[in-house]
Structures are given as C-alpha cells and as structure tokens.
Amino acid sequence: MTNPAQQAQQHLQRLLPLFHHSPLAMAEINAQGVISQLNPRAVQLMMPLAAHLGLPGHNLLDVLTGYLPSVGQAVADFGADSGLIIDHEPYTIRFAVSQSWFDRHFCLTIEKLSPDTLLVFFDDVTDFLIKADAMRHGL
C-alpha cells in the first residue's frame, strides 16, 4: 500500500527514462541562460557547439547566441512573464570538430515559463531533412 507522496515519487521515477531517452534535446535554463536541468541528448548536441566557441557549456543561451545572435535578441526582447519565444524555428549552424567543418540544421523552440525559467527544446534535424528529401525524390 503506498501513500500519495510515494505514488507521486513512483510516477516521477517512471518519467525519468522518457526524459533520458528522448531523441529531442531538452533543457531548463534561467534568464541568464545557465542550465539547471538537461537531458543526455542536450549534452550530446550542445557540447561540440560549445567547444567550437571555446565555451564551457554551462550556459546554453551563450552557446546558441554565439551562432545565432537573433536567438539571444529574441529572448532579451520578450517582455511577457511567460509565453512562447521561438516556436520550431529552423536554423543552420556551421562549426568545426577536430579541424573538420560541419553544416548542421537545427530546430529550436524556447518557452518562457516564468521571469527566471525558460525551457529550450532543440534537435539536429540534418539527417531527417536528408531522409525527407530522398523520400520526396523517390516518389
């Protein structure tokens, strides 16, 4: 027999694999961009981008703005206490790893939950676009 608090804890435990295995990168940041929570996919995608800029990777907004100044501007210009700042916008980012250059296409969503809490969802959709293109040409 479990009490409501234990049941809530069990629900949270069951939620974790969903978050951890999500193919979508997810991060919670504060108004300055400092990461408070993130899933493995977010680390996987963000760290090569951060390293290329010489950033330590603890501030996601700094990483994104380093490539996409308009993203930082959109966050700074958003006056409401909550709401959708960027909704599934496509971006192309060019960066290098081990002296090889890569052009990758990203999809980005940023939602403001409160004045000091933002959720960032992003994904590298380059391979998806290639597959979608092949599908279109195959039809």
Binding site: L16, I35, P40, V43, S98
Partner: protein, 125 residues
C-alpha cells in the same frame, strides 16, 4: 599494493590494464573499462557516484548508446575510432537531470586490451 596514479599520469593506461574490476573501484576518479566494441566491462563506484548509474546495470551494455548517450558525438565517442587515443577535455555529464562539470580522459592504445573513459569531477567554477 601500489598507490593509484593521478588522473593525468602519462602511464595511467598501463596501470589500468593491470587492475581487476574490483581494484578499479579504488581509483580516485571515475573509470569505465570497455571492450574495443564499446561494451562496458567494468563501471567503477566513483563513476557511479558521478552519474548515478548502477554498475550492475551498466556492465554488458554498449556504453555510448545505452549508458552515456550524452557523449555519443564527434567530440568523444568518435575519437575511439583512432588506434591510439590519449586526450583530456572538459565536458558535462548528467546526474539524473543535473549538469555535472567534469574533465574526461579518453584512453586507448594498440597494446591495450581495453579502451577507457575516465571522469574527474570539477568542483570549481
């Protein structure tokens, strides 16, 4: 019994190769021993303390796809395709959902039976 070498010791790979999985638990930093195919053979306790992953869960699984997808990229996992690897880099791992700043050392040589993913937690900003 010999004392543990430091994280940046140039002879660390030789020392690691001589340790049993139980002995790796005594290393002052996180140690993941993998086959050359990336299957976890030993996941030491200090690594478990950094990531929150149970060693019993990790052993036998593909490290970069099943245990640490956060490192499955060009910056880390792809480096193990090289025959010789000894590189230190600053990185972030996750403890549940919280970011943890670490230094990684990636080790592999043609003479080594295994490849290694070493983690040193950074306590200063």
């Amino acid at each position: 019994m010999t004392s543990s070498p430091t994280f940046s010791d140039p002879n660390l790979l030789d020392w690691l190769e001589q340790q049993t999985p139980d002995q790796l638990d005594n290393a002052p930093f996180g140690v993941v021993r993998m086959t050359r195919e990336g299957v976890v053979v030993a996941y030491c306790k200090s690594e478990s303390h950094i990531t929150g992953i149970d060693p019993a869960y990790a052993v036998g699984k593909y490290y970069f796809t099943q245990i640490a997808p956060c490192a499955n990229n060009m910056m880390v996992a792809a480096k193990y395709a090289q025959p010789v690897l000894d590189e230190e880099l600053d990185y972030i791992l996750t403890y549940v959902c919280e970011p943890v700043k670490v230094t990684l050392r990636l080790l592999k040589s043609p003479q080594s039976q295994y490849q290694y993913f070493l983690v040193n937690r950074k306590f200063v900003d």
